[in-house]
Amino acid sequence: MKIEYSPLEMMAIACSRRIQDDDIVFCGTGLPLLGAMTAKKTHAPNCVVFFETGALDPVLLEIPLSVADSRVMHGASHNGGLADAFAFMQNRFSGPKVLGLLSGAQIDMYGNLNSTVIGDSNKPTTRLPGSGGACDVASLVGRTMIFMKHERRRFVEHLDYLTSPGWLQGGTSRQEAGLIRGGPVAVVTTLGVLEFDEKTKRMYLSTYYANASVEETVKNTGFKLSVSRARQEPSPTPEELDVLRTAVDPFGLILD
Protein backbone atom coordinates (compact mmCIF):
# COMPACT_ATOMS: atom_id res chain seq x y z
CA MET A 1 0.00 0.00 0.00
CA LYS A 2 1.41 3.38 -0.97
CA ILE A 3 1.29 6.03 1.77
CA GLU A 4 0.33 9.54 0.65
CA TYR A 5 2.12 12.48 2.28
CA SER A 6 2.85 16.12 1.53
CA PRO A 7 6.30 17.73 1.04
CA LEU A 8 5.80 19.62 4.31
CA GLU A 9 5.18 16.36 6.15
CA MET A 10 8.29 14.84 4.58
CA MET A 11 10.36 17.86 5.73
CA ALA A 12 9.10 17.66 9.31
CA ILE A 13 9.90 13.95 9.39
CA ALA A 14 13.34 14.34 7.77
CA CYS A 15 14.10 16.86 10.52
CA SER A 16 12.69 14.63 13.25
CA ARG A 17 14.97 11.75 12.20
CA ARG A 18 18.06 13.93 12.64
CA ILE A 19 17.25 14.92 16.21
CA GLN A 20 18.97 12.83 18.88
CA ASP A 21 17.61 11.76 22.23
CA ASP A 22 20.09 13.93 24.19
CA ASP A 23 19.62 17.08 22.10
CA ILE A 24 18.36 20.33 23.54
CA VAL A 25 16.44 21.57 20.51
CA PHE A 26 16.20 25.31 19.95
CA CYS A 27 12.95 25.82 18.07
CA GLY A 28 11.32 28.60 16.20
CA THR A 29 7.76 28.07 15.07
CA GLY A 30 6.32 26.28 12.05
CA LEU A 31 7.81 23.20 10.44
CA PRO A 32 11.01 22.95 12.54
CA LEU A 33 8.86 22.85 15.65
CA LEU A 34 6.77 20.04 14.16
CA GLY A 35 10.01 18.17 13.51
CA ALA A 36 11.11 18.52 17.11
CA MET A 37 7.69 17.57 18.48
CA THR A 38 7.61 14.50 16.25
CA ALA A 39 11.07 13.43 17.40
CA LYS A 40 10.04 13.81 21.02
CA LYS A 41 6.96 11.68 20.46
CA THR A 42 8.85 8.96 18.54
CA HIS A 43 12.54 8.02 18.88
CA ALA A 44 13.83 10.87 21.08
CA PRO A 45 11.55 11.13 24.13
CA ASN A 46 14.30 12.77 26.22
CA CYS A 47 15.14 15.57 23.83
CA VAL A 48 14.32 18.93 25.35
CA VAL A 49 12.53 21.66 23.41
CA PHE A 50 13.74 25.18 24.07
CA PHE A 51 12.67 28.63 22.82
CA GLU A 52 14.63 31.89 22.66
CA THR A 53 11.91 33.47 24.78
CA GLY A 54 13.19 31.30 27.61
CA ALA A 55 10.79 28.36 27.96
CA LEU A 56 12.72 25.14 28.51
CA ASP A 57 11.16 21.68 28.18
CA PRO A 58 7.48 22.71 27.93
CA VAL A 59 4.55 20.39 27.33
CA LEU A 60 3.31 21.65 23.96
CA LEU A 61 -0.42 20.99 24.17
CA GLU A 62 -1.11 23.25 21.19
CA ILE A 63 1.18 24.56 18.47
CA PRO A 64 2.53 28.05 19.22
CA LEU A 65 2.36 30.51 16.31
CA SER A 66 5.23 32.62 17.59
CA VAL A 67 8.04 31.96 20.04
CA ALA A 68 6.28 34.56 22.20
CA ASP A 69 3.01 32.63 22.12
CA SER A 70 1.90 31.81 25.68
CA ARG A 71 1.66 28.19 24.43
CA VAL A 72 5.48 27.79 24.51
CA MET A 73 5.66 27.63 28.30
CA HIS A 74 3.03 25.29 29.70
CA GLY A 75 4.65 22.83 32.09
CA ALA A 76 8.18 24.08 31.38
CA SER A 77 11.02 23.46 33.83
CA HIS A 78 12.08 27.10 33.62
CA ASN A 79 11.19 30.36 31.87
CA GLY A 80 13.94 32.89 31.92
CA GLY A 81 13.90 35.95 29.75
CA LEU A 82 15.84 36.48 26.54
CA ALA A 83 19.05 37.21 28.47
CA ASP A 84 18.85 33.82 30.12
CA ALA A 85 17.98 31.91 26.97
CA PHE A 86 20.83 33.31 24.89
CA ALA A 87 23.31 32.93 27.76
CA PHE A 88 22.27 29.26 27.86
CA MET A 89 23.29 28.97 24.20
CA GLN A 90 26.59 30.82 24.61
CA ASN A 91 27.47 28.96 27.84
CA ARG A 92 30.39 26.56 27.43
CA PHE A 93 28.60 23.61 29.03
CA SER A 94 24.99 23.96 27.83
CA GLY A 95 25.67 25.65 24.46
CA PRO A 96 27.34 22.64 22.80
CA LYS A 97 24.32 20.46 23.64
CA VAL A 98 21.92 22.72 21.75
CA LEU A 99 20.74 21.88 18.23
CA GLY A 100 19.35 25.04 16.61
CA LEU A 101 16.62 24.82 13.98
CA LEU A 102 16.75 27.81 11.65
CA SER A 103 15.46 29.09 8.33
CA GLY A 104 16.02 32.04 6.05
CA ALA A 105 15.08 33.74 2.79
CA GLN A 106 18.42 33.04 1.12
CA ILE A 107 21.18 30.50 1.73
CA ASP A 108 24.61 30.15 0.14
CA MET A 109 26.80 27.09 -0.46
CA TYR A 110 28.35 27.37 3.03
CA GLY A 111 25.03 27.47 4.82
CA ASN A 112 25.13 31.19 5.61
CA LEU A 113 21.64 32.70 5.81
CA ASN A 114 19.96 35.97 4.91
CA SER A 115 16.79 37.03 6.70
CA THR A 116 17.34 40.79 6.61
CA VAL A 117 16.96 42.30 3.13
CA ILE A 118 16.70 41.45 -0.56
CA GLY A 119 18.61 43.98 -2.65
CA ASP A 120 20.81 46.80 -1.35
CA SER A 121 20.74 46.83 2.44
CA ASN A 122 20.40 50.63 2.55
CA LYS A 123 17.59 50.73 -0.03
CA PRO A 124 16.22 47.20 -0.21
CA THR A 125 13.72 45.87 -2.76
CA THR A 126 12.29 43.69 -0.03
CA ARG A 127 12.70 44.17 3.66
CA LEU A 128 12.59 40.93 5.67
CA PRO A 129 11.99 40.71 9.43
CA GLY A 130 15.69 40.73 10.41
CA SER A 131 17.82 38.40 12.46
CA GLY A 132 15.68 38.10 15.56
CA GLY A 133 17.62 35.43 17.43
CA ALA A 134 18.73 33.60 14.27
CA CYS A 135 22.23 35.08 14.05
CA ASP A 136 22.73 34.41 17.79
CA VAL A 137 21.70 30.79 17.49
CA ALA A 138 23.76 30.26 14.33
CA SER A 139 26.76 31.84 16.09
CA LEU A 140 26.55 30.13 19.45
CA VAL A 141 25.01 26.64 19.59
CA GLY A 142 26.62 23.24 19.06
CA ARG A 143 25.08 22.58 15.66
CA THR A 144 22.25 23.89 13.49
CA MET A 145 19.79 22.41 11.04
CA ILE A 146 18.29 24.72 8.42
CA PHE A 147 14.86 24.63 6.75
CA MET A 148 14.50 26.01 3.21
CA LYS A 149 12.10 26.03 0.31
CA HIS A 150 14.28 24.55 -2.41
CA GLU A 151 14.15 27.37 -4.99
CA ARG A 152 16.91 28.74 -7.23
CA ARG A 153 16.32 32.30 -6.02
CA ARG A 154 16.85 31.13 -2.42
CA PHE A 155 19.94 28.94 -2.98
CA VAL A 156 22.23 31.71 -4.20
CA GLU A 157 25.88 32.22 -5.03
CA HIS A 158 26.02 35.47 -3.01
CA LEU A 159 23.72 36.52 -0.20
CA ASP A 160 22.37 40.07 -0.29
CA TYR A 161 23.07 40.24 3.48
CA LEU A 162 24.82 37.67 5.66
CA THR A 163 22.52 37.61 8.70
CA SER A 164 23.35 34.25 10.31
CA PRO A 165 26.74 32.57 10.04
CA GLY A 166 27.04 29.11 8.56
CA TRP A 167 30.53 27.96 7.59
CA LEU A 168 31.24 31.55 6.36
CA GLN A 169 33.76 31.15 3.47
CA GLY A 170 34.16 27.42 4.12
CA GLY A 171 37.17 25.46 5.35
CA THR A 172 38.30 26.76 8.74
CA SER A 173 37.00 30.31 8.17
CA ARG A 174 34.30 29.95 10.83
CA GLN A 175 36.81 29.25 13.61
CA GLU A 176 39.15 31.92 12.22
CA ALA A 177 36.40 34.54 12.51
CA GLY A 178 36.33 33.78 16.23
CA LEU A 179 33.11 31.78 16.43
CA ILE A 180 33.60 29.43 19.33
CA ARG A 181 31.75 26.35 18.05
CA GLY A 182 28.84 25.22 15.94
CA GLY A 183 27.93 25.46 12.29
CA PRO A 184 25.18 23.88 10.18
CA VAL A 185 25.06 20.10 9.79
CA ALA A 186 22.03 19.75 7.49
CA VAL A 187 19.68 21.74 5.29
CA VAL A 188 16.23 20.20 5.09
CA THR A 189 14.49 21.42 1.94
CA THR A 190 11.27 20.74 0.05
CA LEU A 191 13.26 18.33 -2.18
CA GLY A 192 15.80 16.64 0.07
CA VAL A 193 18.48 17.03 2.71
CA LEU A 194 21.83 18.71 2.10
CA GLU A 195 24.90 18.26 4.24
CA PHE A 196 28.35 19.89 4.37
CA ASP A 197 31.66 18.40 3.29
CA GLU A 198 33.79 17.75 6.32
CA LYS A 199 36.79 19.61 4.92
CA THR A 200 35.61 22.25 2.48
CA LYS A 201 32.31 22.85 4.35
CA ARG A 202 30.57 23.16 0.96
CA MET A 203 27.01 21.95 0.71
CA TYR A 204 26.32 18.63 -1.06
CA LEU A 205 23.16 16.63 -1.68
CA SER A 206 22.86 13.93 0.96
CA THR A 207 19.34 12.62 0.33
CA TYR A 208 16.44 13.42 -1.99
CA TYR A 209 12.83 12.59 -1.24
CA ALA A 210 11.03 9.80 -3.07
CA ASN A 211 8.79 12.44 -4.72
CA ALA A 212 11.79 14.46 -5.89
CA SER A 213 15.00 13.64 -7.81
CA VAL A 214 18.66 14.54 -7.98
CA GLU A 215 18.03 16.52 -11.19
CA GLU A 216 15.23 18.57 -9.68
CA THR A 217 17.48 19.45 -6.76
CA VAL A 218 20.33 20.57 -8.99
CA LYS A 219 17.96 22.60 -11.19
CA ASN A 220 16.60 24.45 -8.17
CA THR A 221 19.99 25.29 -6.67
CA GLY A 222 21.68 28.56 -7.71
CA PHE A 223 25.19 27.24 -7.17
CA LYS A 224 27.06 24.11 -8.23
CA LEU A 225 25.90 21.21 -6.09
CA SER A 226 27.83 17.98 -5.61
CA VAL A 227 25.43 15.01 -5.85
CA SER A 228 27.81 12.05 -5.87
CA ARG A 229 26.90 11.12 -2.31
CA ALA A 230 23.14 11.39 -2.81
CA ARG A 231 20.80 8.58 -1.83
CA GLN A 232 17.05 8.44 -1.40
CA GLU A 233 15.54 9.59 1.89
CA PRO A 234 13.31 6.81 3.22
CA SER A 235 9.63 7.74 2.94
CA PRO A 236 7.75 8.53 6.16
CA THR A 237 6.71 5.47 8.12
CA PRO A 238 3.06 5.07 9.09
CA GLU A 239 4.03 5.73 12.72
CA GLU A 240 5.86 8.95 11.88
CA LEU A 241 2.94 10.24 9.84
CA ASP A 242 0.41 9.21 12.44
CA VAL A 243 2.23 11.03 15.25
CA LEU A 244 2.73 14.14 13.10
CA ARG A 245 -0.92 14.30 12.01
CA THR A 246 -2.76 13.28 15.14
CA ALA A 247 -0.49 14.20 18.05
CA VAL A 248 1.62 17.09 16.75
CA ASP A 249 -0.56 19.19 14.42
CA PRO A 250 -4.10 17.83 14.69
CA PHE A 251 -5.68 21.08 13.49
CA GLY A 252 -3.39 21.36 10.48
CA LEU A 253 -2.23 24.80 11.59
CA ILE A 254 1.15 24.37 9.94
CA LEU A 255 0.70 21.37 7.65
CA ASP A 256 -2.39 22.59 5.78
Binding site: E62, S66, A68, G81, A83, Q90, N112, C135, T163
Partner: protein
Protein backbone atom coordinates in the same frame (compact mmCIF):
# COMPACT_ATOMS: atom_id res chain seq x y z
CA UNK B 1 4.29 55.67 52.80
CA UNK B 2 5.20 56.14 49.14
CA UNK B 3 2.76 58.37 47.30
CA UNK B 4 0.58 56.91 44.59
CA UNK B 5 1.84 56.73 41.01
CA UNK B 6 -1.55 55.71 39.69
CA UNK B 7 -2.76 57.78 36.74
CA UNK B 8 -4.56 57.50 33.41
CA UNK B 9 -2.75 56.40 30.25
CA UNK B 10 -3.31 59.86 28.86
CA UNK B 11 -1.77 61.56 31.89
CA UNK B 12 1.21 59.18 31.98
CA UNK B 13 2.08 59.80 28.32
CA UNK B 14 1.59 63.56 28.71
CA UNK B 15 4.00 63.60 31.63
CA UNK B 16 6.70 61.20 30.53
CA UNK B 17 6.77 60.87 26.71
CA UNK B 18 8.09 63.73 24.60
CA UNK B 19 8.68 64.26 20.89
CA UNK B 20 12.21 63.17 19.92
CA UNK B 21 12.42 60.73 22.82
CA UNK B 22 14.23 57.43 22.70
CA UNK B 23 11.38 55.02 23.41
CA UNK B 24 11.58 51.34 24.33
CA UNK B 25 8.49 49.20 23.90
CA UNK B 26 8.08 45.98 25.90
CA UNK B 27 6.64 42.65 24.82
CA UNK B 28 7.70 40.33 22.00
CA UNK B 29 5.87 39.88 18.65
CA UNK B 30 2.31 38.83 19.54
CA UNK B 31 2.67 38.95 23.32
CA UNK B 32 2.26 41.72 25.89
CA UNK B 33 2.76 44.76 23.63
CA UNK B 34 1.79 47.80 25.75
CA UNK B 35 -0.95 48.70 23.27
CA UNK B 36 -3.04 51.00 25.49
CA UNK B 37 0.04 53.12 26.14
CA UNK B 38 1.14 53.11 22.51
CA UNK B 39 -2.38 54.05 21.33
CA UNK B 40 -2.13 56.99 23.71
CA UNK B 41 1.28 57.99 22.29
CA UNK B 42 -0.38 57.93 18.85
CA UNK B 43 -3.31 60.03 20.06
CA UNK B 44 -1.04 62.64 21.58
CA UNK B 45 0.69 63.10 18.21
CA UNK B 46 4.17 62.50 19.72
CA UNK B 47 6.62 62.82 16.84
CA UNK B 48 10.14 62.00 15.77
CA UNK B 49 10.55 59.00 18.04
CA UNK B 50 13.70 56.92 18.24
CA UNK B 51 12.52 53.39 18.98
CA UNK B 52 14.77 50.69 20.47
CA UNK B 53 13.50 47.16 20.95
CA UNK B 54 14.29 43.54 20.12
CA UNK B 55 11.35 41.78 18.43
CA UNK B 56 8.79 44.40 17.51
CA UNK B 57 5.34 43.80 16.25
CA UNK B 58 1.90 45.42 16.47
CA UNK B 59 2.87 48.39 18.67
CA UNK B 60 5.90 49.12 16.52
CA UNK B 61 4.03 48.73 13.24
CA UNK B 62 1.39 51.30 14.21
CA UNK B 63 4.00 53.81 15.39
CA UNK B 64 5.87 53.41 12.10
CA UNK B 65 2.71 53.45 9.99
CA UNK B 66 1.57 56.67 11.64
CA UNK B 67 4.90 58.24 10.73
CA UNK B 68 6.03 58.79 14.30
CA UNK B 69 9.32 56.89 14.13
CA UNK B 70 12.40 58.51 12.62
CA UNK B 71 15.07 56.17 13.98
CA UNK B 72 14.79 52.47 14.71
CA UNK B 73 17.26 50.10 16.35
CA UNK B 74 15.86 46.61 16.26
CA UNK B 75 16.42 42.87 15.75
CA UNK B 76 13.13 41.68 14.29
CA UNK B 77 9.88 43.09 12.92
CA UNK B 78 7.23 40.40 12.58
CA UNK B 79 4.01 39.15 14.08
CA UNK B 80 4.98 35.50 14.42
CA UNK B 81 3.24 33.47 11.74
CA UNK B 82 0.48 36.09 11.49
CA UNK B 83 2.74 38.52 9.59
CA UNK B 84 6.15 37.11 8.63
CA UNK B 85 7.32 40.72 8.26
CA UNK B 86 5.38 43.59 9.82
CA UNK B 87 3.71 45.40 6.93
CA UNK B 88 4.22 49.10 7.69
CA UNK B 89 7.72 48.37 8.98
CA UNK B 90 8.57 46.69 5.67
CA UNK B 91 7.03 49.44 3.56
CA UNK B 92 8.70 52.30 5.46
CA UNK B 93 12.13 50.74 5.01
CA UNK B 94 11.54 49.85 1.37
CA UNK B 95 10.33 53.41 0.69
CA UNK B 96 13.32 54.86 2.52
CA UNK B 97 11.23 56.83 5.03
CA UNK B 98 12.68 55.02 8.05
CA UNK B 99 16.32 54.71 9.07
CA UNK B 100 16.99 51.34 10.66
CA UNK B 101 19.96 49.76 12.42
CA UNK B 102 19.90 45.95 12.53
CA UNK B 103 21.04 44.05 15.61
CA UNK B 104 20.21 40.54 16.86
CA UNK B 105 17.79 39.71 19.68
CA UNK B 106 20.65 38.85 22.00
CA UNK B 107 22.54 41.99 21.08
CA UNK B 108 19.51 44.21 21.76
CA UNK B 109 19.04 42.37 25.05
CA UNK B 110 22.71 42.98 25.90
CA UNK B 111 22.32 46.65 24.96
CA UNK B 112 19.52 46.98 27.50
CA UNK B 113 21.49 44.95 30.06
CA UNK B 114 24.51 47.24 29.61
CA UNK B 115 22.14 50.17 30.14
CA UNK B 116 20.80 48.54 33.30
CA UNK B 117 24.31 47.86 34.59
CA UNK B 118 25.57 51.33 33.77
CA UNK B 119 28.46 50.01 31.70
CA UNK B 120 29.33 51.20 28.18
CA UNK B 121 29.18 47.76 26.55
CA UNK B 122 28.76 44.02 27.02
CA UNK B 123 30.58 41.31 25.09
CA UNK B 124 29.30 38.43 22.97
CA UNK B 125 30.62 36.10 20.28
CA UNK B 126 27.36 36.42 18.37
CA UNK B 127 27.55 37.81 14.80
CA UNK B 128 31.31 37.43 14.25
CA UNK B 129 31.87 37.12 10.50
CA UNK B 130 28.42 38.50 9.53
CA UNK B 131 26.97 41.63 7.97
CA UNK B 132 25.43 42.53 11.33
CA UNK B 133 28.93 43.79 12.12
CA UNK B 134 29.91 44.93 8.63
CA UNK B 135 26.88 46.97 7.56
CA UNK B 136 25.76 50.03 9.47
CA UNK B 137 22.35 51.67 9.02
CA UNK B 138 23.34 55.00 10.56
CA UNK B 139 26.19 57.14 9.29
CA UNK B 140 29.03 58.40 11.48
CA UNK B 141 27.62 61.93 11.06
CA UNK B 142 24.21 60.89 12.37
CA UNK B 143 25.92 59.20 15.29
CA UNK B 144 28.05 62.13 16.30
CA UNK B 145 25.12 64.56 16.20
CA UNK B 146 22.76 62.41 18.29
CA UNK B 147 23.89 61.62 21.85
CA UNK B 148 21.34 58.80 22.10
CA UNK B 149 23.11 56.87 19.31
CA UNK B 150 26.26 54.87 20.05
CA UNK B 151 29.42 56.19 18.33
CA UNK B 152 29.84 52.80 16.66
CA UNK B 153 27.24 50.17 15.87
CA UNK B 154 29.45 47.43 17.31
CA UNK B 155 33.16 47.07 18.08
CA UNK B 156 35.27 43.94 17.64
CA UNK B 157 38.12 43.62 20.12
CA UNK B 158 40.75 41.17 21.38
CA UNK B 159 40.09 39.22 24.58
CA UNK B 160 42.82 40.40 27.01
CA UNK B 161 42.50 37.21 29.07
CA UNK B 162 43.29 34.82 26.25
CA UNK B 163 46.73 33.53 25.33
CA UNK B 164 45.82 33.11 21.70
CA UNK B 165 44.28 35.79 19.46
CA UNK B 166 40.59 35.65 20.29
CA UNK B 167 38.00 38.14 19.13
CA UNK B 168 34.85 39.25 20.82
CA UNK B 169 32.06 41.65 19.79
CA UNK B 170 31.30 44.57 22.13
CA UNK B 171 27.68 45.73 22.03
CA UNK B 172 27.01 49.35 23.10
CA UNK B 173 24.68 50.22 25.99
CA UNK B 174 21.36 51.94 25.43
CA UNK B 175 19.49 53.99 28.03
CA UNK B 176 16.08 54.93 26.60
CA UNK B 177 14.27 58.04 27.79
CA UNK B 178 11.17 56.03 28.52
CA UNK B 179 10.04 52.39 28.57
CA UNK B 180 6.42 51.32 28.08
CA UNK B 181 5.61 47.99 29.74
CA UNK B 182 2.38 46.04 30.13
CA UNK B 183 2.29 43.79 33.21
CA UNK B 184 -0.13 41.37 34.78
CA UNK B 185 0.08 42.99 38.20
CA UNK B 186 1.18 46.32 39.62
CA UNK B 187 0.59 48.34 42.77
CA UNK B 188 0.10 52.07 43.09
CA UNK B 189 3.51 52.46 44.72
CA UNK B 190 5.09 51.25 41.46
CA UNK B 191 5.93 47.67 42.40
CA UNK B 192 5.45 45.44 39.33
CA UNK B 193 5.03 41.71 38.86
CA UNK B 194 5.25 39.98 35.48
CA UNK B 195 3.96 36.43 35.14
CA UNK B 196 5.00 33.96 32.48
CA UNK B 197 7.43 35.02 29.74
CA UNK B 198 9.27 38.21 30.66
CA UNK B 199 11.24 38.71 27.39
CA UNK B 200 13.59 41.66 28.02
CA UNK B 201 10.94 43.83 29.69
CA UNK B 202 12.75 44.00 33.01
CA UNK B 203 15.99 45.06 31.32
CA UNK B 204 14.16 47.60 29.14
CA UNK B 205 12.52 49.13 32.20
CA UNK B 206 15.65 49.19 34.35
CA UNK B 207 17.73 50.74 31.56
CA UNK B 208 15.29 53.61 31.02
CA UNK B 209 15.11 57.04 32.61
CA UNK B 210 11.33 56.84 32.96
CA UNK B 211 9.08 53.81 33.16
CA UNK B 212 5.33 53.66 32.50
CA UNK B 213 3.63 50.41 33.43
CA UNK B 214 0.08 49.50 32.49
CA UNK B 215 -1.41 46.49 34.24
CA UNK B 216 -4.27 44.02 34.04
CA UNK B 217 -4.72 43.91 37.80
CA UNK B 218 -4.11 46.69 40.27
CA UNK B 219 -3.23 45.10 43.60
CA UNK B 220 -2.13 46.51 46.94
CA UNK B 221 1.57 47.14 47.59
CA UNK B 222 1.24 44.89 50.65
CA UNK B 223 0.08 41.96 48.52
CA UNK B 224 3.05 42.20 46.14
CA UNK B 225 5.46 42.82 49.00
CA UNK B 226 4.58 39.49 50.60
CA UNK B 227 6.87 37.78 48.08
CA UNK B 228 9.32 40.46 46.99
CA UNK B 229 11.55 37.90 45.23
CA UNK B 230 8.74 37.26 42.76
CA UNK B 231 8.42 40.94 41.86
CA UNK B 232 9.93 42.12 38.60
CA UNK B 233 10.57 45.84 39.00
CA UNK B 234 11.03 47.72 42.31
CA UNK B 235 8.73 50.64 42.98
CA UNK B 236 11.47 53.28 42.93
CA UNK B 237 12.10 52.72 39.22
CA UNK B 238 8.51 53.20 38.08
CA UNK B 239 7.11 56.68 37.32
CA UNK B 240 3.52 55.86 36.41
CA UNK B 241 1.12 52.98 36.96
CA UNK B 242 -1.88 52.75 34.64
CA UNK B 243 -4.64 50.31 35.47
CA UNK B 244 -5.83 49.04 32.10
CA UNK B 245 -7.40 45.60 31.76
CA UNK B 246 -6.98 44.20 28.22
CA UNK B 247 -4.24 46.79 27.79
CA UNK B 248 -2.22 44.54 25.47
CA UNK B 249 -5.04 43.75 23.01
CA UNK B 250 -4.76 42.61 20.19
CA UNK B 251 -1.58 40.95 21.51
CA UNK B 252 -1.70 38.34 24.27
CA UNK B 253 -1.34 38.66 28.02
CA UNK B 254 -0.56 35.35 29.76
CA UNK B 255 -3.15 34.19 32.30
CA UNK B 256 -5.58 36.87 31.04
CA UNK B 257 -6.17 36.54 27.28
CA UNK B 258 -4.77 35.24 24.04
CA UNK B 259 -3.75 37.24 20.98
CA UNK B 260 -6.69 38.25 18.82
CA UNK B 261 -5.81 36.29 15.71
CA UNK B 262 -8.78 37.59 13.71
CA UNK B 263 -7.96 41.20 14.47
CA UNK B 264 -4.27 40.77 13.69
CA UNK B 265 -4.97 38.99 10.39
CA UNK B 266 -7.44 41.70 9.39
CA UNK B 267 -4.89 44.36 10.35
CA UNK B 268 -2.25 42.70 8.22
CA UNK B 269 -4.55 42.85 5.20
CA UNK B 270 -5.59 46.48 5.76
CA UNK B 271 -2.04 47.62 6.52
CA UNK B 272 -0.99 46.64 3.02
CA UNK B 273 -2.99 49.56 1.60
CA UNK B 274 -2.08 53.13 2.61
CA UNK B 275 -5.66 54.39 2.59
CA UNK B 276 -7.06 51.47 4.50
CA UNK B 277 -4.25 51.70 7.02
CA UNK B 278 -5.12 55.36 7.64
CA UNK B 279 -8.74 54.37 8.16
CA UNK B 280 -7.77 51.62 10.57
CA UNK B 281 -5.59 54.03 12.53
CA UNK B 282 -8.43 56.57 12.73
CA UNK B 283 -11.13 54.08 13.57
CA UNK B 284 -9.29 52.11 16.24
CA UNK B 285 -6.90 54.68 17.68
CA UNK B 286 -7.04 58.35 16.76
CA UNK B 287 -10.80 58.85 16.82
CA UNK B 288 -11.19 56.88 20.03
CA UNK B 289 -11.08 58.61 23.40
CA UNK B 290 -9.52 55.92 25.52
CA UNK B 291 -8.73 52.21 25.66
CA UNK B 292 -12.07 51.26 27.18
CA UNK B 293 -13.81 52.84 24.18
CA UNK B 294 -11.44 50.93 21.88
CA UNK B 295 -12.43 47.71 23.63
CA UNK B 296 -16.10 48.53 22.90
CA UNK B 297 -15.19 48.67 19.20
CA UNK B 298 -13.61 45.24 19.48
CA UNK B 299 -16.76 43.95 21.14
CA UNK B 300 -17.43 41.70 24.09
CA UNK B 301 -18.03 38.65 21.93
CA UNK B 302 -14.53 38.77 20.48
CA UNK B 303 -12.98 39.58 23.83
CA UNK B 304 -14.78 36.65 25.38
CA UNK B 305 -13.45 34.32 22.69
CA UNK B 306 -9.83 35.14 23.55
CA UNK B 307 -10.25 34.89 27.32
CA UNK B 308 -7.58 32.64 28.82
CA UNK B 309 -8.37 29.21 30.22
CA UNK B 310 -7.08 29.63 33.80
CA UNK B 311 -4.95 26.48 33.97
CA UNK B 312 -3.31 27.18 30.60
CA UNK B 313 -2.99 30.93 30.53
CA UNK B 314 -4.18 31.12 26.90
CA UNK B 315 -7.48 30.39 25.10
CA UNK B 316 -7.85 26.75 24.20
CA UNK B 317 -8.11 26.38 20.43
CA UNK B 318 -10.34 23.30 20.44
CA UNK B 319 -12.89 25.18 22.52
CA UNK B 320 -13.70 27.25 19.40
CA UNK B 321 -14.18 24.27 17.14
Amino acid sequence: MSSSKLMSASESVKRFVNGGDCLSVGGFTINRNPMALVYEVLRQRTKDLHVVMHSGSQALDLLIGAGRVSLLEIAYGANGRLAPTCVRFRKAIEQGTLKVEDYTNYQMTLRFMAGVMGVPFLPTYSSLGTDIIERWGFSTDMRSSNPQLPRKKLAVTEDPFSDKASQVVLVPAVNPDVALIHAQKAAEDGTVRLEGLTFADIEQARASKHVIVSCEELVSPAELRKEPWNNSIPHVLVDAVVHQPLGAHPTACYLHYDYDMEHLLKYKELADDDYQFENYLKEFVLDVDCHDDYLKLIGTKRLKSIKATPELGYARRDSDL
